[in-house]
């Protein structure tokens, strides 16, 4: 957005997103998928570089087939070193193009002769790039697994008809959009899950008349520990953090007392870790694991506590609203006997000159509208 008052106010949805105050659910995206982030960054940067290198040189291409084929091949070997390989490809392709560019500047006439070679080379590159792109997209498990299926199917060869730049840019764009889509979908899913959880807690508060009862905790415990994935996560986090699994599970299941105790324990362990960190340099890895586990436990407890707190507030409002509703029902205005008498008198006196009020807002007793044709 242009902040200058001398300019129009502009907003680009993607580029200027940081200027929006997005909701808290969206902010949780910070913590999403480290693996996806690493993979996404690697792929994005690699193709970024590739795109830039190719972009700079435009159509001044000559005899690149050999170099490109040599360079693209290594990029298809593994998933882990995908980023490095792709960057390597980009660098070497860039160098090849630079040579061509330099050559073409010094000897422009030769370029035409070499165009056929270049075309062949580009065809090779196109095929290889598409191949490597396919592999890259297909093996990009961090970012592409759960998103709409278009990336794996189309990204690699979507732009192959537009030459190497098109292929690289197509894959890069698709990679970026893939990561983006996954993040967005995850965020929506998380928000939905949070809503569901809050709803569950509200039900628990309603059933327990403002308190979460043991039965509700037991049900939640069964739900948490009955699911193998969730159980595994809870057990791993608790064990690595140095907390009893049962305590942590009960805290997550809504036991407020247990949540307090676990929070206290997490604080103690964190403090101890901070105090020991400088002395135990050799056990850094273990310390790091424990610190990360403690962070995860604290975060999970924070989310659970936050959801319970939201549900409690909702229940209080609900309770209040229900009470108000009952009061309102009891205080429905009923005509008193005196009022009923008055109504009866008016009706009786009105018989014989009944007027159908046609004009909005007019009182039938003081109707001055010209409704004579309706009089009887």
């Amino acid at each position: 957005m242009a902040a200058d008052r001398g300019r129009d106010l502009q907003f680009r949805v993607l580029s200027d997103l940081s200027q929006l105050d997005l909701d808290e659910g969206a902010r949780q995206l910070d913590d999403l998928g480290d693996a996806g982030k690493t993979a996404g960054d690697k792929l994005g940067n690699a193709f970024d570089d590739a795109g830039r290198s190719v972009d700079d040189l435009g159509d001044k291409t000559r005899g690149v087939g050999r170099d490109i084929a040599d360079n693209v091949e290594p990029a298809t070997r593994g998933v882990d070193d995908l980023g490095d390989k792709a960057r390597d490809v980009a660098t070497r392709v860039g160098r090849a193009f630079e040579d061509i560019s330099r050559s073409s500047r010094t000897n422009v006439r030769k370029v035409d002769d070499d165009l056929d070679d270049a075309k062949k080379g580009l065809d090779d590159f196109k095929e290889e790039a598409a191949g490597s792109g396919r592999e890259a997209a297909a093996s990009f498990s961090g970012g592409f697994d759960d998103i709409t299926g278009f990336i794996q199917e189309t990204a690699a060869n979507a732009f192959s008809g537009f030459g190497p730049l098109g292929a690289a840019a197509g894959v890069a764009a698709a990679a970026g959009i893939g990561v983006l889509t996954k993040l967005w979908e995850d965020n929506k899913q998380k928000a939905e899950e949070a809503k569901e959880e809050v709803r569950g807690w509200v039900d628990a508060f309603v059933e327990g008349q403002g308190r979460i009862q043991e039965a509700a905790i037991q049900t939640k415990l069964q739900e948490l520990l009955g699911d193998p994935d969730t159980y595994k996560q809870i057990a791993t986090d608790a064990t690595e953090a140095g907390i009893a699994v049962a305590d942590y599970a009960r805290a997550k299941a809504g036991d407020a007392e247990q949540a307090k105790k676990v929070s206290q324990r997490v604080r103690e362990l964190s403090d101890a870790l901070d105090a020991n960190q400088s002395r135990t340099t050799e056990s850094e890895a273990a310390t790091l694991d424990q610190a990360n586990a403690l962070k995860r436990v604290a975060k999970e407890l924070g989310i659970t506590t936050g959801n319970i707190s939201t549900a409690e507030s909702a229940w209080k409002d609900l309770d209040q609203a229900t009470r108000n509703g009952i009061v309102a029902n009891l205080s429905v205005d009923v005509p008193t006997p005196a009022q009923l008498d008055a109504i009866n008198r008016r009706v009786r006196s009105g018989i014989g000159r009944i007027v159908i009020p046609l004009e909005v807002g007019q009182n039938p007793y003081t109707n001055n509208a010209n409704n004579s044709r309706y009089r009887y």
Partner: protein, 175 residues
């Protein structure tokens, strides 16, 4: 959220590197299907005396990254102000910031009785402090930012749909 924003920027950057033919088609569709509905929502959200001119000045651009522009240099108000002159005040509010303003000597209303510091300053040709943007409410309407925040979900979904369609199209028409 930083990571998501960063990814959004990166995606926008990468899309700018697409082949020109694809980018143009994509940008046109993004404008029609994503930016225009957003602009329509913003137009409907303007309130107050400048609502009509602001709605008329809410436009879109042919960009792959959905873009909304509110402004224009044409004089549209009786005082000669353009949309550009009133959009910031309406969107963000006039604020409470006061500033020192220059006034020529002896200009302005004269009165008897107690003379205020501002009047004394005005009479002596010095600067005086006043509110700068009293023509706008203190709080802005946030018609642009509020609408985008509120509809980001659907904007993003529509945008991904358009991109998906073009990637599919690119595959079918390419090579």
């Amino acid at each position: 959220m930083d990571y998501f924003e960063q990814q959004c920027k990166q995606a926008a950057r990468q899309l700018r590197r697409l082949p020109a033919a694809v980018r143009k088609d994509l940008a046109r569709d993004v404008q029609t299907e994503v930016a225009e509905p957003l602009a329509a929502a913003i137009r409907a959200d303007w309130r107050g005396p400048h609502a009509a001119v602001l709605a008329a000045g809410t436009k879109t651009r042919v960009q792959v990254d959905p873009m909304v522009v509110v402004g224009g240099a044409r004089k549209v108000l009786t005082g000669g102000a353009s949309v550009r002159d009133v959009v910031y005040g309406n969107e963000f509010g006039g604020g409470k910031r006061s500033a020192w303003v220059n006034r020529p000597k002896n200009e302005g209303r004269k009165r008897r009785g107690k003379v205020t510091a501002a009047e004394r300053a005005r009479a002596t040709g010095k600067v005086y402090r006043r509110r700068t943007t009293q023509q706008f409410p203190t709080e802005g309407q946030h018609a642009i930012f509020g609408t985008i925040e509120g509809t980001l979900d659907s904007i993003f979904d529509r945008w991904v749909d358009v991109i998906t369609r073009h990637l599919d199209g690119g595959m079918n028409s390419g090579s």
